[in-house]
């Protein structure tokens, strides 16, 4: 199957610090892909490079066979993004924001109108469509951002911590939606700290640690390869964080 996302030697440095180091990654189309790593491992930096938010120091990244560095506009037309810090314009209303994003992706007016209504309905935001985004709760902003990332019918969806700070109802709705998208052939690339969600949703995962890829494969295979049973334990083992017993701070408590 053709790779929807493919990176070769992808590297990003900040001064002397290598945030992402020689990352080779291949994600097949239609995969629900979980990208894991501890804080500061390079997850967000990788997503930012794949979506053209930051420059690539060296290496290559191809989305749907196109190079993000040389054909950024073509690639961006086919991807949807929910960045870690939601890229919302908070002085627009929810429906104005969707109209704006639809225009940016070159959709026809009628298409924008229809899809906006459907997306707002889907996200349970239709009653708040006329409210300024600045007055939205965090969960509402997250849902609006997801709606905006879908309006142009992307083939690949990048989600940076989509479940952070949202309630169980919204979380369930987003999970169901993402699953239905992958059934239709959309590739979902997500990062999350909530390993239970990743374990349940993702058919494939990769783990990055200190900027380097330390594992990639089917979720089931990764678990079977270990003597342990949960993804959390596999993850902790991979990032050398399995020994969590508090041997210090004896004064505590």
């Amino acid at each position: 199957m053709e790779a929807a996302i493919e990176t070769t030697g992808l590297t990003r440095t900040f001064g002397q610090f290598k945030a992402v180091d020689q990352l080779d990654l291949s994600v097949a189309a239609g995969t629900f892909f979980g990208f894991l790593g501890p804080n500061g491992a390079g997850k967000s930096t990788t997503i930012k490079m794949l979506t053209g938010l930051i420059r690539i120091s060296s290496g290559q990244a191809r989305i749907l066979g196109r190079d993000i560095d040389t054909e950024p506009t073509v690639v961006k037309q086919q991807i949807g993004v929910v960045p870690e810090e939601l890229a919302l314009f908070d002085r627009l209303t929810g429906s104005e924001y969707l109209r704006f994003v639809g225009r940016m992706y070159g959709l026809q007016k009628n298409t924008i109108r229809t899809r906006s209504v459907e997306l707002l309905e889907l996200m349970n935001l239709h009653d708040d469509a006329k409210k300024l985004i600045v007055d939205y709760s965090h969960g509402m902003k997250k849902k609006l951002s997801l709606a905006a990332s879908l309006i142009h019918d992307p083939k690949v969806l990048f989600l940076d911590e989509p479940f952070e700070g949202i309630d169980a109802v919204a979380s369930r709705m987003i999970k169901d939606l993402l699953e239905s998208l992958t059934v239709r052939g959309v590739t979902v690339f997500l990062t999350s700290h909530i390993l239970e969600i990743v374990e349940k949703l993702c058919s494939e995962v990769a783990v990055i640690h200190q900027g380097k890829l330390v594992a990639q494969g089917k979720t089931e295979e990764l678990r079977k390869g270990e003597t342990v049973s949960s993804l959390e334990e596999v993850f902790l083992d991979l990032v050398d964080a399995d020994d969590t017993s508090p041997t210090v701070l004896s004064w505590l408590g």
């Binding site: 420059r55 506009t73 810090e85 314009f89 002085r91 704006f100 298409t111 509402m140």
Partner: protein
């Protein structure tokens, strides 16, 4: 308690220091030092002036002169103490004391700490030298009524600080909510606007020689004066005058009056503080849980879109322009500009035009010069939007970089938005002018509009680079929306050069005896400036792509 006051002072200091970190730290630091020096010079200058006034008042032994002296000094101190925090609050500065609640400090202690640190606030330090100077000259150096005088002055200062602290907390609490913040800022603007129109409103039948009937004015304000006698500066002044007249009853009455202000001030302050701390609501009004919506969306549709085929005025550009206009019309500064435009035009019509000489200026009718000048000045209203064009984007700026659009289109869309907005301001100004002075003749009107357009295009060309090189995050609902110091300096340089060049083009054809060529040459200049602007767009877009990460970093705050 003291260690906590010191800790909070340290915290404020560190916040101020960290606010000056980054690429422009040196300029910001220099600016802060400059402001502090200017503030200190003004403060000391006032203190010297007031001290001298107190000395002469005591030497004269004239009770009226004494009373006026104390009223002026104490009233101005109260004004500084109450008005300057208003400005700071409106600009969104200050430490959010709610953050300190996680520490083991009771609310009462926190109020004490907050009030204690208010005594050391810059707005109060500003007028302390004046109070010290008048106290020295008024009773410390003469060695008369020292205890009574100091008691009244200290109590008066405490009253001012306590009330200023309470008012500021109330405003901070209100301004945390966006809508009330916008209402308050709009009210402050309204006061400014009405203040600027006061001379016109107060003297509708004023003769041209500018004299004002003082007796009539006193009659009109007599009731106001009786109310003013109950205010702390007047109470304190009466007490101090009473000391010199050896009227102990007056002094005691003054102390009692000040205490009558202090006690409710403290109670109100504590109440506001408690509400301000406890009154914060829940998570921000999330939508109530509803049944999960449909878990599917319509089948995918294809629009056959190809981003590379887009014309210059594509719907992407229009989309950015519409978004920009939404922001401009929803921002406090944008609304303020629209309100101030006719006010400025009226000020020009009523004050500037009236003072113009009868003779022609460089061969041009003085009223036409005023019209040119007014429209040129109007372009300055948009300076904030032009030189810090991304100020309000916040994390939304990321969209321009991951969205499928060329950055030239982002810049063009934003510029078009500002041009439409500024053009509207210009039309409002001309309409206001026409309402009072009549419609200008066609040549003057054409030339002045072309001058206006030339200025805007020239400023925008440079402003795009300024906005990309020196972006500063700003709050849409705040009064202060100024660009960075560097952008302001570059903008000023552009202003001087552009005004000089455009002014030359305006004057030269008339001076050379070909006034009919004036609009033609201005139109050619506008065409040239538009060409330069068009050429600069791709350069600015390349710079924007290069500085994408820095822009996102600076603006997401």
């Amino acid at each position: 308690m003291l260690d906590r006051v010191l800790a909070i002072s340290w915290l404020r200091w560190r916040m101020a220091v960290h606010a000056m970190r980054g690429g422009e730290a040196l300029l910001q630091f220099a600016g802060s030092i400059l402001i502090a020096v200017i503030g200190a010079v003004i403060s000391i200058g006032l203190a010297v002036g007031y001290g001298a006034m107190a000395y002469f008042a005591i030497s004269s032994s004239d009770p009226d002169f004494l009373r006026i002296t104390w009223v002026v000094v104490l009233f101005s101190c109260a004004f500084f103490g109450l008005f300057m925090p208003l400005l700071f609050t409106a600009s969104g500065q200050g430490l959010d004391l709610r953050r300190l609640l996680i520490f083991p400090v009771s609310r009462g202690q926190l109020y004490g700490i907050s009030l204690g640190s208010a005594f050391l606030g810059g707005e109060h330090l500003f007028y302390y030298p004046s109070l010290i100077a008048v106290s020295l000259m008024g009773f410390v150096l003469p060695g008369k009524h020292v205890i009574g005088g100091l008691a009244i002055v200290l109590l008066f200062t405490t009253v001012v600080v306590v009330w200023s602290h309470a008012v500021m907390m109330l405003l901070q609490g209100l301004m945390r909510r966006r809508r009330s913040r916008e209402v308050i800022v709009s009210l402050i603007f309204l006061v400014v606007v009405l203040g600027s129109l006061t001379p016109v409103l107060m003297t509708p039948d004023e003769p041209d020689n500018g004299s004002i009937d003082l007796e009539a004015l006193q009659d009109r304000t007599h009731g106001l004066a009786r109310v003013a006698d109950l205010l702390p500066p007047f109470i304190a002044a009466s007490g101090l005058v009473g000391l010199y007249a050896d009227e102990s009853a007056g002094s005691w009455g003054s102390l009692a009056g000040l205490l009558a202000w202090l006690v409710p001030g403290l109670a109100l302050g504590r109440l506001i503080f408690t509400r301000h701390v406890l009154g914060e609501g829940g998570s921000g009004g999330g939508a109530p849980a509803r049944k999960a919506g449909r878990n599917s969306i319509s089948p995918a549709r294809t629009d056959g879109f190809d981003a590379t085929d887009l014309p210059v005025f594509s719907q992407q550009v229009i989309g950015v322009t519409v978004k920009e206009l939404h922001y401009l019309l929803r921002s406090v500064v944008g609304r303020f500009n629209l309100v101030m435009t006719p006010v400025m035009a009226m000020i020009v019509v009523f004050f500037v035009v009236r003072g113009l000489p009868a003779e022609e200026i460089f061969g041009i009718d003085p009223e036409a010069v005023a019209l040119f000048g007014m429209l040129g000045y109007m372009t300055l209203f948009s300076n904030n939007f032009i030189n810090n064009a991304f100020a309000w984007e916040g994390p939304g700026i990321q969209f321009y970089f991951y969205g499928p659009l060329a950055l030239e289109k982002v810049l063009l869309g934003k510029n078009l938005g500002v041009w439409i907005f500024t053009g509207t301001s210009g039309l409002i100004a001309i309409t206001t002018w026409s309402a009072f002075k009549g419609i200008p003749d066609l040549w003057t009107l054409t030339s002045s509009l072309l001058t206006f357009a030339c200025c805007v295009v020239a400023f925008t060309t440079v402003g795009n680079f300024n906005s990309i090189l020196f972006p500063v995050a700003r709050d849409c609902s705040s009064i202060t929306n100024s660009p960075s110091t560097s952008a302001v300096l570059i903008g000023l340089g552009t202003l001087v050069i552009a005004m000089g060049a455009i002014g030359g083009v305006v004057v030269a054809p008339v001076a050379l005896g070909y006034p009919g060529f004036q609009p033609l040459i201005l139109a050619m200049l506008l065409g040239l400036l538009l060409l330069v602007y068009g050429f600069s767009l791709s350069r600015a877009a390349a710079l924007m792509a290069y500085r994408a990460e820095k822009m996102v970093d600076k603006l997401r705050a």
